[in-house]
Symmetry: C3
Subunit: 426 residues, 3 copies
Amino acid sequence: MTATLSATLFQELENLVLIDPHSHINPLSAASKNLADLMGYHYYTELAHSAGLPKDQIEGPEITPKEKVGRLVEKLADLDNTIQVSWLLEMCREFFGFADDRITKDNWESLYDSAEQKMSQPDWEQQVLKHSKLEKVFLTNDFDDPLEGFDTGVYIPCLRTDDLVFHFLKKAVRDRLHKATGIEAIDAGTLRTAIGKLFQHFVAKGARACAISLPPTFSPVKVDPGAASTIIKHAVKGQRLTNSEQDMLSSFVFWTLTEYCAEFKLPFDLMIGVNRRVYEAGVYQGQDLYDTRVSLIQYKEVLNAFPQVTFPISVLTHMSNQELVSYSWIFPNIVANGHWWYSNTPTYIELDTRSRLEAVPRNKQIGYYSDMYKLEFALPKFRMYRRILARVLAEDFVQRRGWSEDQALALGKQVLRGNVETIFHI
Amino acid sequence: MTATLSATLFQELENLVLIDPHSHINPLSAASKNLADLMGYHYYTELAHSAGLPKDQIEGPEITPKEKVGRLVEKLADLDNTIQVSWLLEMCREFFGFADDRITKDNWESLYDSAEQKMSQPDWEQQVLKHSKLEKVFLTNDFDDPLEGFDTGVYIPCLRTDDLVFHFLKKAVRDRLHKATGIEAIDAGTLRTAIGKLFQHFVAKGARACAISLPPTFSPVKVDPGAASTIIKHAVKGQRLTNSEQDMLSSFVFWTLTEYCAEFKLPFDLMIGVNRRVYEAGVYQGQDLYDTRVSLIQYKEVLNAFPQVTFPISVLTHMSNQELVSYSWIFPNIVANGHWWYSNTPTYIELDTRSRLEAVPRNKQIGYYSDMYKLEFALPKFRMYRRILARVLAEDFVQRRGWSEDQALALGKQVLRGNVETIFHI
Amino acid sequence: MTATLSATLFQELENLVLIDPHSHINPLSAASKNLADLMGYHYYTELAHSAGLPKDQIEGPEITPKEKVGRLVEKLADLDNTIQVSWLLEMCREFFGFADDRITKDNWESLYDSAEQKMSQPDWEQQVLKHSKLEKVFLTNDFDDPLEGFDTGVYIPCLRTDDLVFHFLKKAVRDRLHKATGIEAIDAGTLRTAIGKLFQHFVAKGARACAISLPPTFSPVKVDPGAASTIIKHAVKGQRLTNSEQDMLSSFVFWTLTEYCAEFKLPFDLMIGVNRRVYEAGVYQGQDLYDTRVSLIQYKEVLNAFPQVTFPISVLTHMSNQELVSYSWIFPNIVANGHWWYSNTPTYIELDTRSRLEAVPRNKQIGYYSDMYKLEFALPKFRMYRRILARVLAEDFVQRRGWSEDQALALGKQVLRGNVETIFHI
């Protein structure tokens, strides 16, 4: 009975048209051109590499898209248990009519060709949006992105700020900032002004969020502008900073960004917990991991200092989920946001979804975002989430708490779509 | 079949008369007088505030109980997914005959009035105790509580010691200690004697436990009385202590309390992991959170030093539950105690219950306590736990391990009631 | 339907003949001689002690095996909820025809006698291997084990290295190394040579792995041989080392072992997270616990430095499992290995199995090992795992992802046996 109910709720949730509140879509090339665009997603390259495929077999300018797919396919048999490969199969079935239960060396070429043909249709991007029931998609834009050449009503800009907070020391970053704003950031004041310019530009182009990913060691504090200026001057001169100076600089930039989020009424997406380049010989985007020893208490000061800023927070691991639940339950300015990266697998999504739905106010939860690089991924990823959400609604709310189907469905729709609208003012 | 069995076991467990081993009941005013007493519970005020209700709308001397309820009701729709609101509904149904499935602006006033009428009956407290099948309820008493004016056979005193361990530096705390004991604590010896007086008083009044809540950073060590005396003298003079001195002072008091627990044969309830005042602008009792980075290994020294003292340990988070399971399985003097605060939601209760029942000796587990401030909460909270316990017994023990229903039920009764009697010597 | 499918898959998995990739079997006395050999397993002694049985009642040279069992039996009623006692019952039923549902003071003596009779049959060891469907069993050998007197085709040697890495400071350890290799390790070079001799000996005897258990604080780094030599010379002279020197010495030995694993193509089993002697008054082998605050990032340097070495990693707690999943998914040289010790209970095994099967390449997972001291334990332990594995395959793969039974079964067989063969080159 629960299984039937769960299936019914899933079908209802499948009908919902979505706004995807976080992706890495390039709006100038949103959909894929061939299977290599799909299988080049780091999930497949890193899993294939982890399973034994040498990196140089799949990375290098001389490898054609078709060769790359052929080599990845040879490793797919070792990965077919992963949920990520199930997304790939679901895309192939849904978009290209693939009918086998595995992609193998015997069937991949015809799949490749039929997919390429389909993807070369001029309205492919529109087909994918429509078939996936995607109305709008949030982007992740470099701070110096001109934000031109695309419909910002569909692809919503989001100011990504990792470079500013963690890589201001790099001349290339400072040069980009200079070029984007016309301002040379040489002290706290000019850096502040330059960042203000970025916000003006992004908000004028319809940006609906500022975002950043953060290492597990980061704990922002308010830094005196005078002290910040001294450090910025050192940095600009190319002098080496101590770890403590680097932390202060990062804190100063982070704090300044938060002040502008307050001023421009932009939610600040915090994606907490990633260590970059842990496996240095890994494939592109397949080098990052984490240290579970992280706590939201590291953000106590900034959360208290900015009650007027909404912080949709994503945590990298299931181990941080209970903190996210509890902190969202207490702090009015925290929203529990999606299921990020290493937590984006069914076992963890299910537990995290259950715990959030039973303890966080329903208006403070964003159920899911795709985090995708190519548009085709929204369908299988959101579908995975909808299946789990339907099951949790069926078991925890209808079966155990006696809710009606309609009440459960309304809750599902709110976390899947409604809250995205209210929280990001869409 | 499992569902039926689970329902049967639940009904059997519902018949069990309980001793609640931890609450914050005021025995001079144990039951509620109106709906504001129920909805003023921090779970509702903090969730409503988190969902957007300004603190000054619900806190302030000028707000009448009825106004307060009215304002909270307006936010209930944003919280109706939470398990806490399901407790509220269950109380209203069970005690006041409320028949709707939501409390709304249209039906709350009549609910308020009918509840107030019911609660004004002279035997309301007895009705609640009887209807909730509560035989005895443990209290949480300030160290200077006179423990008078109530039946200590029903409301069992418990010596709460946070103030002594963490706030001895405050003159008000020292004055209270002086007044309660007639002893001025000016060095290690006099402090020890004063604390001894408290134990004598509490034990004479039928206290069955000493208790304390502890921050995640605390790690008690044995402190030399001479060193402690020096620090106490500084403290008494109003001098500022270093962090290290404050830690030593806390350790000294904690250790002294433990010595008296040994002498007076009182279990020492440790409630581990809470950071106070993390969200400083929060509502009353809605400001505390935590840092998951805590370990029971911090208590290694005291656990080894006092094999004769029973430590019923509660952990604030599911993330600490496996440590509690493993430490209870190894240390004879640890009892796994209840599901505390941020872990007191069904997803975490279920996992924690499963893991304890399969790995900790059955005589070393206290299934649940209410942690309630008002008597009416025992019913929905214990019922939530009984539902989960019944399900775990049905699935893990009857279905998977082939136990008979009677055997499973006996296990359930032992963790719900039997162990409370043996562990606290009732 | 899922229950039926799960039962079918379980039966199929039960037919699989196993290679147990980690045990503590003494190959010269692999099977038990009486019930005391089974009930002397630390799980029973430590749980009975934890439940209230004084240590001196079960430890001491004057206690006969039968007396010991009699005393443990008196405490069994307090432990019968534990999964460990369910293993005991399953062994008694399976091997000795025990038909009651509890072992009590009324029935244990006849069980003891019939078990002893059965175990005294000359081919008992062979009966157990055959009945348990065990083809080969990995050992845990001291570094100075002569590895003689047994069939290394059945009992596969494994070089255990805790003593070398953490106890080189002890003269007894250095003497054993000297005696085993003929080399006196007095500096980095001679220590290196001596360790090389151990590898030669073990590999010549058919060893298939090197192994070590590691405390949560350990974080190996590459140490300069000159610096190591200085420390080793101090150690050999019996001088006290600072904590930092002790860490460097441990790192140096660990790094040297890893170099030899590379040279001899041996996987290096890392068992991460145990603190020894936390409860110092505990029974034999019942004193160790842990601190969940540990991360695989502590192994970043060694994992990057030795891409050619396979590291089957076990983690002590469920709290570390997600890191193991993520690190196995990224690092080609990590294999997720079994369910160790405090995580070896059904609740944690199920969650950990689900999360691994959905995110780690299927060729990089070793489902289970027994960790047993006596041969009879393989049957109930592996059976517990097979039940859980069957359930996960039925629910997650067949039911939710549409796999065929055969496909699911093939995955189960691979993690239960196939990967043991490929990873350890058997």
